[in-house]
């Protein structure tokens, strides 16, 4: 079936069971290829479709049309000339203005400087090929049939562009200040937010890790809460807190919350838990022996902090910084809600596509947005690899010693951060219950009457839960089995490496870019998968793909904990791999599997960026409803829906905690001695 060397050293050492292993191997490889095909279809091909869209240009082809002009009596004595010939002579339309968007129109009167709509002169127009399209008013004509117009009608004749390929869209992008200014804005906001978030999160994680303050568990839970809400929600809260009718407006001293200030504050809120958890892990693996050494060398606390703590956590800090940078620069919901006139790249994609119907330019902005996201991603990957190498078997876990002053200041600091998080959530809940802000502050449930608002009503909420459950179940199956194949298939190095690459790619792709890519790829009638466009299936596929990487890494980490000896043992007992998989691998990895499920569920509930291009009338989503209600000015119902998402995620977390505890008791007994 297969040669020995292709199967690797394990097999050659055990050549008597080769046939059995061989068939297992082929099944596993086949399955891995199926999953790889899934990732290619759900990721690589849409991205390719998007890239080619960015290079798709529209251009007026003047050689396509021929015009003949009559004299005043209506007799056509002059020879016909193509528009190109006319333009070459007098340059009525500059070369650069011939590049346009797919919506472009060019009036023919441009080519006749002495045109007057009152003149008795007549015009004969003929397309020279079948793709020549022109409009009379809004009536569309195509092809080579000649048509004759009087002057008054001729002023309404416009020609349409043809599609070609080239770099014209990029040229337009970089010559439109309104567009490329966003690059600077996005990078600036992301940098500022990163510095603030990482600093705050470091302080918080430091307090959790290195102090003996009380309520650590409570603080940890509060700090993780922002993960459970869509990124738009802090934006809405900030409107109520610091908007023109906000409680705390005077704190801004005349500055507007709509703009960079709002985006940065909101970004800090929603990226805080991501940074905090990374730094917390980095701090908790620091080696206590280094501190003992510092003490015995009589280093001051300050010096110890800079020479031991910071270097020890440096990979965590760098990693946190890039994760936050990536989250902020690719986030769309927050700047959409609170950004005011401050343009950001992710919002530009939305504006180009939704506002101007300029899909090509949307694709160009997507390509631009990919660059910083890719850089942040690559750096993060490199750093993460180093972080693992820092762990050593002889490390001793640091145990903090009580110190009243230090513990109290830690407590005060964490309480402040927790207050910030709770007040953002609290104000949203309060605003959701107020009847008519700010003129009627009595409470009621009228803002929960979602069926009377934009965004799909309560059906959207049910759809979101459906999407969450399906993403959690299907996604976990795909991700975990995929990770298993990558980890446990023997040989096949090249295939495994390419699968690994595909699995890591989604993290670098901003949601907006993925969503747009899906439109280009799936909403193409030539695509046999076209039928899933507009269904729940495409939302599930998109969401699973969008959040693939983190789930994959979780699964791989769990699988790496299982000794590689299990497979040879199972093989020598002539057990097929799927029995080993279901009897040993899955039960052992169950905590990780549950973690993947909750991760996918929560993200499916809160994500906006990718699905905003893909939902349909039957598949409206709660998170998108928040966006749409805010967009229509129904801010209070938007807050209400946002909080519904929050409570649902809290409930899911609780279920997860209970199930995890039960499962741990049932299947993880082997971990205890």
């Amino acid at each position: 079936m297969s040669s020995t060397d292709a199967l690797g050293p394990n097999v050659s050492a055990d050549s008597r069971i080769k046939p059995k292993l061989g068939s297992d191997d082929w099944i596993m490889r086949g399955y891995m290829i199926v999953l790889a095909v899934y990732l290619v279809v759900a990721l690589a091909l849409p991205l390719y479709a998007m890239l080619s869209k960015a290079f798709e240009t529209s251009r007026f082809d003047l050689a396509q049309f021929e015009v003949q002009v009559s004299d005043e009596s209506g007799a056509f004595n002059q020879p016909a000339a193509t528009l190109k010939q006319l333009n070459d002579k007098s340059n009525f339309v500059a070369e650069g203005d011939l590049a346009t968007s797919s919506d472009g129109r060019l009036a023919l009167t441009n080519f006749f400087p002495d045109f007057s709509f009152r003149s008795p002169v007549k015009y004969r127009l003929r397309g020279l090929d079948d793709n020549a399209v022109y409009l009379v008013g809004s009536e569309r004509f195509a092809g080579t049939k000649p048509a004759e117009f009087d002057s008054n009608t001729f002023r309404k004749v416009v020609i349409r562009p043809i599609q070609s390929h080239g770099l014209a869209n990029f040229a337009t992008y970089f010559s439109t200040p309104a567009l490329f200014q966003s690059i600077q804005n996005s990078v600036f906001i992301a940098l500022v937010s990163t510095v603030i978030t990482v600093t705050l999160a470091f302080g918080f994680a430091y307090a959790l890790c290195r102090s003996c303050m009380p309520f650590k568990g409570v603080f940890r839970i509060i700090a993780m809460a922002p993960i459970l809400v869509p990124s738009l929600l802090p934006g809405i809260a900030l409107v109520y807190l610091f908007g023109n009718q906000g409680f705390l407006k005077q704190f801004l001293m005349g500055e507007s919350i709509y703009g960079p200030i709002g985006i940065v504050v909101g970004s800090v809120f929603f990226t805080f838990p991501h940074a905090m958890i990374i730094i917390l892990i980095a701090l908790s693996i620091s080696d206590a022996r280094l501190y003992e050494a510092a003490v015995s060398l009589r280093a001051s606390k300050w010096r110890t902090f800079w020479t031991v703590t910071i270097p020890g956590a440096r990979y965590g800090l760098i990693s946190a910084a890039f994760v936050v940078f990536n989250l902020v620069i690719t986030d769309f919901g927050l700047p959409k809600v609170i950004g005011g006139q401050y343009n950001m790249l992710a919002v530009d994609i939305y504006k180009q596509v939704i506002g101007q119907q300029n899909f090509q330019m949307g694709a160009v902005v997507s390509v631009v947005l990919l660059i910083p996201a890719l850089i942040a991603y690559v750096v993060d990957r490199l750093v993460q690899r180093k972080q693992v190498a820092l762990l050593s078997a002889r490390s001793v876990v640091y145990q903090p010693k009580p110190s009243r002053r230090f513990d109290l200041s830690c407590l005060a600091y964490c309480a402040l951060v927790a207050l910030f998080i709770i007040s953002i959530l609290g104000i949203c809940q309060y605003a959701a219950l107020v009847k008519f802000w700010p003129y009627d502050l009595s409470l009621g449930l009228s803002n929960y009457d979602f069926d009377r608002m934009d965004g799909g009503g309560w059906a959207a909420y049910r759809n979101s839960i459906m999407l969450g459950l399906m993403t959690a179940v299907i996604g976990t199956v795909i991700v975990f089995t995929g990770a298993y194949m990558v980890e446990k298939t023997k040989g096949f190095t090249r295939g495994r490496a390419s699968f690994q690459f595909l699995a890591m790619l989604p993290m670098a792709i901003p949601g907006m870019v993925l969503g747009l890519a899906y439109i280009f790829f799936f909403n193409n009638p030539a695509n046999p998968l076209n039928f899933i466009y507009g269904t729940m299936a495409i939302l599930v596929i998109c969401t699973v793909t969008h959040f693939y990487t983190v789930s994959h890494l979780t699964a791989v980490t769990a699988l790496k904990q299982i000794d590689g000896e299990f497979e040879p043992v199972a093989a020598s007992l002539k057990q097929p791999f799927y029995r080993l998989f279901s009897r040993v691998t899955v039960p052992v990895c169950l905590p990780a599997i549950l973690d993947i499920m909750i991760y996918l569920f929560v993200n499916a509930m809160t994500t906006v960026s990718a699905v905003v291009f893909l939902y349909s009338s039957k598949t409206t989503l709660a998170s998108v409803a928040v966006l749409n209600m805010d967009d229509a000015g129904d801010i209070a119902p938007a807050a209400a829906m946002g909080m519904m998402i929050f409570y649902t995620n809290v409930a899911a977390r609780l279920v997860h905690a209970v199930v995890s505890r039960y499962v741990l008791g049932k299947t993880q007994g082997w971990r205890q001695r």
């Binding site: 919506d103 009036a107 009718q245 939704i354 279901s582 899955v586 169950l590």
Partner: protein, 341 residues
């Protein structure tokens, strides 16, 4: 465990397949930009006469719906468009995306509200008219006088107190801009917008948001449309709805059948119904001007002089110059990186 997971997967796939029910008889996918709170009312009124046809709404702001339709140009998902700006429908018509059809009874409508082609590709429903929403409470606190004209809005006292929709994404925003260009002429129109821009606090994505923000006191003056203002006023907002003296832009909401629909029969039934007197009476609940002559009754909270102030709108000018106008607008006003308070 593996079996359970596999079972879950199969169930998931089954649900996914079940949700693929594109076009079934008795169901119409209708794209619309009608205010969300009215959708149920519209569907119920239609279903009272045609209970066998279910309407699946896809509702979004005018720009979004138009973008969606254009994106699906080669693979239309909608059967009918009911309640989208005529300028947008002209755009779709110029792409050959609309099915020409003369609904039964179309001859009863005011010809201004019917597409000029025969058979027409779209029929109008009602007109929605630009207006300025002025919050009297917040205006009073700031010591502002209510503006009377568009040009008033460029006065220094309103600096930072005006909000309007971004014409790139909002149909209302675009009809404002196109009406200013038509009323004041190209040169003066842009000069007016330069002045207005200096006073604008923000450009919103949707056309109803400025009025809702004015209603919530977030900003004293919102450039929006009369219908939205009247609704917010009815909800208890301290608003004055101002019709600027120079005249106001308007657009009409219209209906069309999407070419290539799998369900042409039902689509025609709906199109027929949308031009009936009954339907027009329904439109009249929110719109002072409807396509069926003699139907319109005054609408509560609507400014009295609205009708006479509607400009003689040139829809083709608006449709064919749309891109050029938006490009110019974006160049002038969208590159501001500094937020304004």
């Amino acid at each position: 465990m593996f079996k359970k997971l596999a079972g879950g997967l199969m169930a998931g796939v089954a649900i996914g397949v079940m949700s693929i029910s594109a076009a079934m008889a008795g169901e119409l996918t209708v794209y619309t930009a009608i205010e969300a709170e009215d959708l149920k009312k519209y569907a119920d009124a239609f279903n009272a006469d045609h209970p066998d046809i279910t309407i699946n709404w896809v509702r979004d702001s005018t720009g979004v719906v138009t973008a969606k339709l254009l994106a699906e140009k080669n693979n239309p998902q909608a059967d009918v468009v009911w309640g989208l700006a005529a300028t947008s429908l002209l755009l779709l018509k110029s792409e050959g995306m609309l099915e020409p059809y003369a609904p039964k009874g179309v001859e009863n409508l005011d010809p201004k509200f019917v597409d000029k082609s025969t058979p027409p590709t779209w029929t109008g429903m009602d007109a929605w008219v630009a207006s300025v929403c002025f919050n009297t409470v917040e205006g009073g606190k700031l010591g502002l006088t209510a503006p009377k004209t568009w040009k008033d809005l460029t006065k220094a006292e309103y600096k930072g107190h005006v909000i309007m929709p971004n014409p790139n994404s909002s149909g209302t925003g675009f009809l404002d801009v196109s009406s200013w260009l038509q009323m004041f002429g190209e040169k003066d129109g842009w000069a007016f917008m330069d002045g207005l821009h200096a006073n604008i606090a923000a450009y919103t994505h949707s056309g109803s948001k400025p009025c809702k923000m004015a209603a919530a006191g977030e900003i004293p003056i919102g450039v929006s449309f009369a219908f939205r203002g009247a609704k917010s006023k009815a909800a208890g907002a301290p608003l004055e709805i101002i019709v600027p003296e120079e005249g106001v832009g308007w657009d009409m909401e219209a209906t069309a059948i999407v070419a290539g629909t799998d369900n042409l029969e039902d689509a025609k039934t709906l199109a027929d119904w949308t031009v009936t007197k009954k339907a027009n009476e329904m439109y009249n609940s929110g719109y002072a001007v409807v396509a069926y002559p003699g139907v319109a009754k005054p609408v509560e909270h609507f400014p009295a002089n609205l009708l006479e102030k509607m400009i003689d709108n040139d829809f083709e000018f608006a449709a064919n110059n749309r891109k050029a106008i938006l490009d110019e607008w974006q160049k002038r006003y969208d590159s501001k990186s500094e937020p304004k308070g």
